[in-house]
Every structure is written in structure tokens, then in C-alpha cells.
Amino acid sequence: MKVLALDSSGLVASVALTDGDVLVAEYTTDYKKTHSQTLLPMLDEIRRMVELDLKTIDVIGVAAGPGSFTGLRIGSATAKGLGLALGVPLAAIPTMDALACNLYGCEKLICPMMDARREQVYTGLYSFERQDGSLALHRILPQCTMSAVEVIEKVNQLGREVIFLGDGAAAYRTVIETRICVPCSFAPASCNRQRAASVAVLAAQYAVQGKLVEAAAFAPEYLRLSQAERSRMNASDEEQERMKAGVKPGGRT
């Protein structure tokens, strides 16, 4: 089974192609250019380098959120466009699951973190457990949005040695080192950010498990409403009417 995978959920842009147990190609950049300038040119480079016939792709895996709203949409629209044109289904892989998979087989607690701004992180807690004769990713805390302090508390409660990874772990490193009560370490550059190869590995599992989606039906999971929706939800009925008339809550036209 040939899997093409894309991850543009954060600052990293990553494209990978797997064929069964072989990682045929992977191209990952963490650079200031926008994903719309990098993602497709990287796929094109892979296509030429490994003489990929796009028609042979069976599944398109995509990091389906959470992450940067714009980054998620560039990856999602690219995956949806490819899916539409090639007639291939998508595997919507939770971003935090894919990040955790970078540390395959790790016996310690895995805590991926992405900086979600507004003093929060996108995070989750994982471990690898033996299941039906093989190691499988086990979600202790499914991906969610919370403060770094909250997730550190949860790790402390579990009382297990932990490995942090992701740009949120870098952003909150001092907070982590100050508050953590269990032995902890930080994953190195080889595996501490999004890698499309991890998305591809999970996408292949999704295909086997029949968890694929039609390209048309796919939309990313942001784990957070837009600012306007949040304001509206917190507004009274009267404020909502004023909003319709173009008056922002507590503000002017």
C-alpha cells in the first residue's frame, strides 16, 4: 500500500511517501516560508526524485489538527484537491497522535505539545502498549487544548517518566522544568517536530481499520472556535442582536 502523507499543522512542512514498510521519501522543512510556497513544491520534488506515479497512491494521510488554522487549511485543501483529482480517500490523522508516533516503542510517557497561543498548548498523553502481539499507540489523554501547567499537573499525577516534544515543549521548557516532579527529557531534533512519515504510518493503520474518509467530506479538527464564535457564545441575547447590527461586544461599530 502506497501512502502519501502531508503535515503542515505547525511551523514544519513535511511530505512523506511510504510503500508498505518502506519510507520511500520524506521531505521536512522548518523554515520561514509559508506552507503554500513549500508543501506542493516539496511533493513535486519527491515525485521527480523517486519517479512517483501519482496514480499509484492508495491513501492520502493528512495531519488533521489541531494546529495553526491557516497551516491546517493549506494541508487540508492540498489533500482534498489531490484526493479529488486522484480519486483517493483520505486518512485524517490527529496531529498529536502523529507527533507521539515519532517516539515509536518508547516505554515512557509521551507528551507532545504545540504552542496554541493564548497561554495554551495543544497536547495529549500517550504511551506504547503491547496489544494483540504488537506495540500500539495508547491514548492516555486524547488530544486537547489546555494550559501547559495543567498538562504538567496531569503528568505529575501519573507519576511516570516522561518525554516532551513539539514546539510547545520548547516554548514552555522553563515552565516544565520548574514544575515537573517526575524524571523528564526533551526529544532531540531528529524527532521533536511534526514528521509526515509518522502521519503515513498511522494512515496505513487507518486504511487497514477502515477509518478512511472521502476527500469531499474531510475538514480539519481545530479544537478551538474562531474568535468571533467565542465572543458570540459569551454574549447575551441583546449583545448578539447588536453584533448582527455590526456592533462588536463591548465595542463600537
Binding site: 506542493l40 487549511r73 489531490l82
Partner: protein, 349 residues
């Protein structure tokens, strides 16, 4: 980087066009630039009405949900397969960056997967080219007034893909002024159609609102002074306890906008000696504006062109029309095409 070279094709050219610059998710299939085989628009307007205007993040999220359905419907309605498409055209600016990126990313992926040429199109050039669709005889050069929620331009269309901007708004776009005034008199969003319909019952001469003149360029527009005059008038009435006639304010405001747009357009027509005049953009659907411009053109024996309302609103058929002429000129974009929210008319990136 866009590359150009002149070439007019002998065989039929089928353009799959995609437009997501604001709050409409749209796709179309256009044959040889002028024949619309399908024109699908998913409007999000109800969603944004709750917020009194377009919310960029909500618009972008909706585009992602709808983009494939809209494209698939455009292909089905046109009875065309992806393999039969000659090229993919997409709006890459100006517009809301997050919204544009959905269309741009999807269009690039489709063109890449099919190994077809990719043509980036300027949104306003699309609006202008909407006139080619129903007016098969219309060819450049002609003068075009582009008026929408985000733009007010008086443009000389010198040739296909060659534009000279004669005038532009110094502050608010015409459609923006409509929206703001509609809010102020309690009509809500979207302002253009609501003012257009209410003003039918009002007296356009009831209130003397100002017609702004912009000093150094006779073709430039300014609508923020007019908007302030309306707000001041409303405040004055409120303070004096005088009842306000919504219809009279709407009609008088609209008359002021229409007068300025008409006067500037006719001035440019006479100055340039052009015999063809077209209007484009969302505000070009305004009944009063259409009638005023049509009458002014008739008096001067100038041919008047306007798209049907469905082609005035944001749509992808117009992008297919503009994309065709760009394609024929040899414009091709790379897989690194980015959204350019501030793309200028006539600019090629």
C-alpha cells in the same frame, strides 16, 4: 513567477475555475473564455449575517468544508471530466488571505495531480471579464467601473489582461459605504441589496448629502465623508427628536453614491473618447446605479454593458473568463503560487 508569451489556441480551451476570495465558495467550467458550462456558488451569507459582516476565520473554515462539493458539482453540471480540462484557474488575490489560500491550495493540488497548467487570476480582473460572458461582441478597449464591497475602481481595459486604473476610492469602497449606512439606519447586513430595495419607497431628493470631490485626481472617489454626513444627519435628528425616514435616508444616500459614480464614469468616457462602457462587481447589481449609468450612456450614444446579477456577485465563471485570456497569453503559475491579499490590478506575481 508568472510567465507570458502570446499564443491563441485553435482547439477548445476548457478552464476549471475556482474562487474563494471572500465568503463565496465557487467553481465553474468555462469554454473558450465566454461560454459558461457550469457556475456553482455556495454562499455563506447567512452564516456571516449573525456577526454583522464577513468573519474571515469562519469564511475560511466553510471554504474547506465546501470546496470539493462545489468543484465536483461544477464538473458534473458541465458534463466534463477532470481529464478533459485544459487548465485550472484560481483567484490568488486580492481578498482575505485565509479564504484565498483554500482555493489556491486546492487548485494547485488538482492541477498538480492532473499535470495541467495552473493560472492565477486577479479577482477584480475576473469581475471585469464577467462582461465577456454575456456580451460575445465586447472586446477591449473599453471603460469599466468596478464597484463592490471591497473595491471601487474606474479602469481602462486597454487589451485582454492590460489595465490602466484611472480612478480608485481614497477611503471606503462603495459597497462598504452601503453596508455601513445600512447598519446605521437599522437595515442590517448585507447593506447593498437592502438599501436598493428600501430606497424605492423613499425620496432621493429628501436630504442633500454631499458629493465628495477629490482634489488631485478627478476620477478618484471618496465615500467616507458621505457616510459621516449620513451618521451626522441621523444623530442630529435623534437629538432634535425628529423622526427619521429610513427610506428617505436610503434613497438620498444612494442617489449621492450613484451621482458620483455616474459623473466620474461619464467624465472619463468623454475625456478618453471611448464608445464602450461596462460595469462590474457586486454593487453593479444595484438597480438604481444600473439605470442611471445606462441612461447616461444612452444619451451619449455609448454602448452599455453589464453582467447579470449572478455574474456580478463573486463567482468562478468570471475567473474562468479572465483565466482563459491569461492562459492564451501563456501565463502559467508554479506550485509555489501563494495567496496575495493585496494584489494590485494588472500586477502579475
Amino acid at each position: 513567477m508568472a510567465q507570458e508569451s502570446a499564443k491563441w489556441p485553435q482547439e477548445d480551451v476548457l478552464i476549471l475555475a475556482i474562487e474563494t476570495s471572500c465568503d463565496e465558495t465557487a467553481a465553474a467550467v468555462v469554454k473558450n473564455g465566454r461560454e459558461v458550462l457550469s457556475n456553482i456558488i455556495y454562499s455563506q451569507i447567512d452564516l456571516h449575517t449573525l456577526y454583522g459582516g464577513v468573519v474571515p476565520e469562519i469564511a475560511s473554515r466553510k471554504h474547506i468544508e465546501k470546496i470539493n462539493q462545489v468543484i465536483e458539482k461544477a464538473l458534473t453540471d458541465a458534463k466534463v471530466t477532470l481529464e478533459q480540462i485544459t487548465a485550472v484557474a484560481v483567484t490568488y488575490g486580492p481578498g482575505l488571505v485565509g479564504a484565498l489560500l483554500v482555493g489556491v491550495s486546492a487548485a494547485k493540488a488538482i492541477a498538480f495531480a492532473l499535470d495541467k497548467p495552473l493560472v492565477g487570476v486577479h479577482h477584480i480582473e475576473g469581475h471585469i471579464c464577467a462582461n465577456y460572458i454575456e456580451n460575445k461582441e465586447l472586446e477591449p478597449p473599453f471603460l469599466c467601473l468596478v464597484v463592490s464591497g471591497g473595491h471601487s475602481h474606474l479602469v481602462m481595459v486597454l487589451d485582454y489582461g492590460r489595465y490602466e486604473i484611472l480612478g480608485r476610492t481614497r477611503d471606503d469602497a462603495a459597497g462598504e459605504a452601503f453596508d455601513k449606512v445600512a447598519r446605521a439606519i437599522g437595515l442590517g447586513y448585507p447593506g447593498g441589496p437592502k438599501i436598493d430595495s428600501v430606497s424605492g419607497q423613499g425620496d432621493p431628493e429628501a436630504i442633500a448629502f454631499p458629493r465628495a470631490k477629490v482634489g488631485d485626481n478627478v476620477y478618484d472617489f471618496s465615500f467616507s465623508g458621505l457616510k459621516s454626513a449620513v451618521l451626522n444627519y441621523l444623530n442630529g435628528c435623534r437629538m432634535k427628536g425628529i423622526p427619521v425616514s429610513q427610506a428617505d435616508v436610503a434613497a438620498s444616500f444612494q442617489k449621492a453614491v450613484v451621482d458620483v459614480l455616474t459623473e466620474h464614469s461619464m467624465h472619463a468616457l468623454e475625456e478618453r473618447g471611448v464608445r464602450k462602457f461596462a460595469i462590474a462587481g457586486g454593487v453593479a447589481s444595484n438597480g438604481h446605479l444600473r439605470r442611471a449609468l445606462e441612461e447616461a450612456c444612452r444619451k451619449r450614444n455609448v454602448a452599455f454593458y453589464r453582467p447579470s446579477p449572478i455574474l456580478c456577485t463573486d463567482n468562478a465563471a468570471m475567473i474562468g473568463a479572465a483565466g482563459y485570456y491569461e492562459y492564451c497569453k501563456g501565463v502559467r503559475h508554479g506550485w509555489d503560487l501563494n495567496a496575495v491579499p493585496g494584489l494590485k490590478l494588472g500586477e502579475r506575481i
